[in-house]
Symmetry: C2
Subunit: 185 residues, 2 copies
């Protein structure tokens, strides 16, 4: 009996989550309806709502299982080393990331992504000796804002660049400012 819940529950939940990802890839998050999902998953409507509150709940259940957006932080080495790996990873998963973060996505999704990134960046700056303060939070917001803006425009193909170029631009833009801030301590 692997996994506590009933096998039917596991199957149903998996079918629904799988269907959502497929549909998001095809139409973009915003355009997918609950009806689409239950048709694709071949699941009763009542069954769907017995497991999830709605589209967004399914998405979040999926996101928490996607580990590649939680890289480890490091206090030594160059700052924000996560970015290069993340751009590379996004290149592989381009279709999915585009569907989730791109123009046709919803606000909640990018907000979730920004939240995760902010925690990451804040932890790294703290580990490098920055004092916890409002000013730090503002800096974190700027760094994450710059990163996400690059990422979103990239997956939307508004800009064409390699992961290396993106990474370089990102570090060139916010790196000096962050280094100055850290040096002021």
């Amino acid at each position: 009996m692997p996994g506590n819940p009933d096998r039917r529950v596991r199957r149903t939940r998996q079918a629904i989550q799988r269907a959502l990802v497929e549909l998001v890839l095809e139409k973009g998050y915003e355009a997918v309806t609950v009806t689409d999902v239950i048709d694709r998953a071949d699941v009763g409507r009542s069954t769907f709502y017995a497991h999830f509150d709605g589209k967004q709940a399914v998405l979040f259940a999926n996101l928490s299982e996607m580990a590649f957006l939680r890289p480890a932080i490091s206090a030594d080495g160059p700052p924000f080393a996560f970015s290069r790996a993340m751009f590379e990873h996004v290149l592989e998963q381009r279709r999915l990331v585009r569907a989730l973060l791109g123009r046709r996505s919803g606000r909640a999704v990018t907000a979730h992504g920004e939240q995760v990134l902010r925690d990451l960046v804040r932890d790294e700056l703290l580990a490098r000796g920055a004092p916890a303060s409002m000013s730090l939070e503002l800096t974190v917001t700027c760094v994450v804002g710059a990163f996400m803006a690059l990422l979103v425009r990239w997956v939307d193909e508004e800009i064409t660049a390699t992961p290396a170029e993106l990474d370089e631009a990102f570090h060139a833009a916010v790196g000096p400012g962050v280094r100055e801030m850290l040096a002021r301590e």
Copy 2:
């Protein structure tokens, strides 16, 4: 006969646009429906669709009449001088900006705002001697991303700060990087 179109047309369009702003202030852009708007504007449904394609069209008609988000650029003086004035202005118009750009807003609205800002920032960097290139576009994206991230979190009250503090954080984060880029030429 001021203004070419029929007086009825002027009245109708104005009533609709006014109603949208009111409702956006009350409920946030996303939550406002066309039905809400025509009820508030006291206008027939068919009349509404005779003038606008939908909610978003009304919004854009409004946005193009809001001039305060088009400050002049300057090639001398400190870079990105627009930011301070803009933070100040947003403070006055906080409710409206929040409704338009905040958590409960739609993607299209912020995308529109980012577009305007990108043109502004790009022009300023070009005026300061940066060569037009893909690398410039990446930098512009970072700068605007950082600015918008601050703005959005601020109007959403996720961060508390004065316009001066926001402005300082913004310049501290992206200023050094931009100066280095300009110096490299």
